[in-house]
């Protein structure tokens, strides 16, 4: 089975964001493999650990520096990596189009992709990939078992969780709860440096949407700390809550 895990490199959540000349500027930011994407890499590795014969390709679209996140995936245990290199910021549907054509060329059976990446706050990539590939899809997946060509997964829906039965080929969007991603060990980090990482320049710009402005989202909060002991503070809060009409 050939598995593609989609990798996106995002600013570490602790980074402070600003807007500088209409661009997002980050101070003290480490760029990391998106946490949601790690679950997919881990799930692919678990299939191997369970004895399935799998080939795992880590695939990313982004600037040259995205190589770091791909190396992390390789250090976790992916077999090889491929980068569609571009400095353009494509929208999510255009990104999916470029990634889908690589996945088709690779003749993969299964794609893992993070449920929502922390840079663009978009949850659309997995669904868009499934649509473009014409494959079955499970979003926000929290458990995953494979039996031949058949998959049984649990995923979160609007009201709660559901079990889905689907068949390969499939796109699975991953999230917390699916597994505990492993940390790359030092020997594996060393080994990852010698693994195959291919690059391909990506020049097409098919985005239908364009970002024309950015501002810091600010919400003024009063930050008023109620004084007094627990009872006094609770009483004051209760009267405020009653005032809000509840």
């Amino acid at each position: 089975m050939k598995i593609v895990t989609i990798i996106r490199q995002v600013p570490d959540a602790e980074a402070r964001v600003r807007v500088d000349n209409g661009q997002v500027a980050l101070s003290g930011a480490a760029w990391v493999l998106d946490g949601m994407d790690e679950y997919g890499v881990e799930q692919a590795l678990r299939l191997r650990d369970e004895g399935h014969e799998v080939e795992i390709l880590a695939l990313a679209l982004g600037p040259a520096g995205t190589e770091d996140a791909l190396r992390t995936a390789l250090a976790m245990g992916a077999d090889r990596a491929h980068l569609l290199e571009t400095d353009l910021s494509l929208d999510v549907l255009a990104t999916a189009q470029s990634l889908a054509s690589v996945i088709q060329c690779e003749q993969a059976d299964l794609v893992f992709v993070g449920g929502k990446q922390a840079d663009w706050d978009s949850a659309a990539l997995g669904a868009a990939l499934a649509e473009l590939l014409g494959w079955s899809f499970s979003d926000w997946t929290t458990s995953f078992t494979v039996n031949g060509q058949d998959l049984t997964v649990r995923h979160d829906s609007d009201a709660g969780s559901e079990t889905l039965h689907l068949s390969l080929p499939s796109v699975i969007s991953t999230q917390q709860g699916l597994n505990d991603p492993r940390y790359p060990t030092l020997p594996n980090i060393m080994k990852a440096k010698r693994k195959e990482l291919t690059r391909e320049p990506m020049t097409s710009q098919d985005s239908k949407t364009e970002v024309v402005g950015r501002d810091l989202e600010q919400r003024e909060r009063e930050g008023r700390i109620l004084q007094g002991d627990a009872t006094q503070a609770a009483q004051e809060l209760a009267s405020m809550l009653k005032e809000v009409g509840r």
């Binding site: 549907l93 899809f137 979003d139 979160d156 709660g160 079990t163 009267s239």
Partner: protein, 315 residues
């Protein structure tokens, strides 16, 4: 062609869903700005409720038991009406369905918008990125646009003066629409109001210390305030609450009138799920917890003391 604005409408029994009403509000505004007709698309059980809000309703009698069927239904509605825009509340299922509809109709996709404006020059929208810390203004000149509306960003629409007409819309499913079989299960959550709908959300974090504390402190408070219980990732990871209740980057985004954060430290990932709440109240023992920088009202104290006192004061 009249190029109508379509809006997906949803209801539970006789009650319209609150997120759907927020989507109707946006759709009405766009219809008024563009002079285009407004048409709702609804499953059979929601069509009559939709007609109280929207002048024209397309009723889908086929059961939309999985996402593939839902995508097909919306695609059919879009194409058969020669629509210019489809608007739907940004629920979890919308996140999975709408990008696919956008691709099928060769349209642009605007995700989780806070503002939407259509003019002769195109469509402009505002959405958040970078863990909800940056406001992005997006523009598209595409003729067909699919929009998900951020839950809580708009006021719910009021009923219309006149009841609309309901017309059935035949959907022809294809074999590929049957490939995912769904086993529905009862939600594990004990919430009587869903997090998407709740006007009050009471969220608990690591500071609560146990699953029992949620039962003893949050449940009565949720009951008293008519709210829904939410949880931070730490509380969910500890097994105290089900994933369905998680608020944050992983999990749900909520924007209630009142957000009570109990024993919540205020990690960036959690804040990204509640930033747009109207009134934020934090109760935490640790005066240095980041949540106090993001609240309107704070109490520095032990939740095990403050919450019982609060329940007494509310009684």
């Amino acid at each position: 062609m009249s190029q109508p604005i379509l809006v997906w409408f949803d209801a539970q029994g006789d009650q319209p869903s609150r997120p759907a009403l927020q989507a109707v509000q946006v759709a009405r505004q766009v219809a008024a700005e563009t002079g285009r007709p407004l048409v709702a698309v609804a499953a059979a059980q929601a069509a009559d409720v939709a007609a109280r809000y929207v002048p024209s309703v397309l009723r889908i009698d086929t059961e939309l038991v999985n996402q593939d069927r839902h995508v097909r239904a919306l695609q059919t509605a879009f194409e058969s009406q020669g629509a210019s825009m489809l608007i739907m509340a940004g629920t979890r299922s919308a996140q999975a369905i709408l990008p696919r509809v956008a691709l099928r109709v060769d349209g642009a996709f605007l995700e989780d918008v806070l503002q939407l404006e259509v003019s002769s020059g195109g469509t402009q929208a505002v959405r958040l990125s970078q863990l909800q810390r940056i406001r992005e203004t997006l523009r598209t000149t595409a003729e067909r646009v699919v929009v998900s509306v951020k839950i809580g960003a708009f006021e719910p629409a009021e009923p219309a003066a006149e009841t609309g007409t309901v017309t059935p819309l035949l959907i022809e499913m294809e074999a590929s629409d049957e490939r995912v079989r769904v086993e529905r299960e009862l939600a594990e959550s004990a919430n009587s109001v869903s997090l998407d709908e709740a006007g009050v959300v009471i969220a608990g974090g690591r500071g609560l210390g146990s699953a029992e504390a949620f039962q003893q402190l949050l449940a009565p408070l949720a009951h008293r305030l008519g709210g829904a219980i939410g949880a931070t990732r730490a509380a969910v990871d500890a097994g105290w609450r089900p994933y369905e209740e998680q608020i944050g980057q992983t999990g749900k985004t909520v924007a209630p009138d009142v957000y009570l954060a109990l024993g919540v430290s205020g990690a960036v990932q959690h804040l990204s799920g509640m930033r747009r709440s109207r009134l934020v109240v934090a109760i935490n023992q640790d005066a240095d917890a980041p949540i106090f920088k993001h609240c309107d009202v704070g109490i520095v104290g032990d939740v095990h003391q403050v919450v019982p006192a609060l329940l007494d004061a509310l009684a």
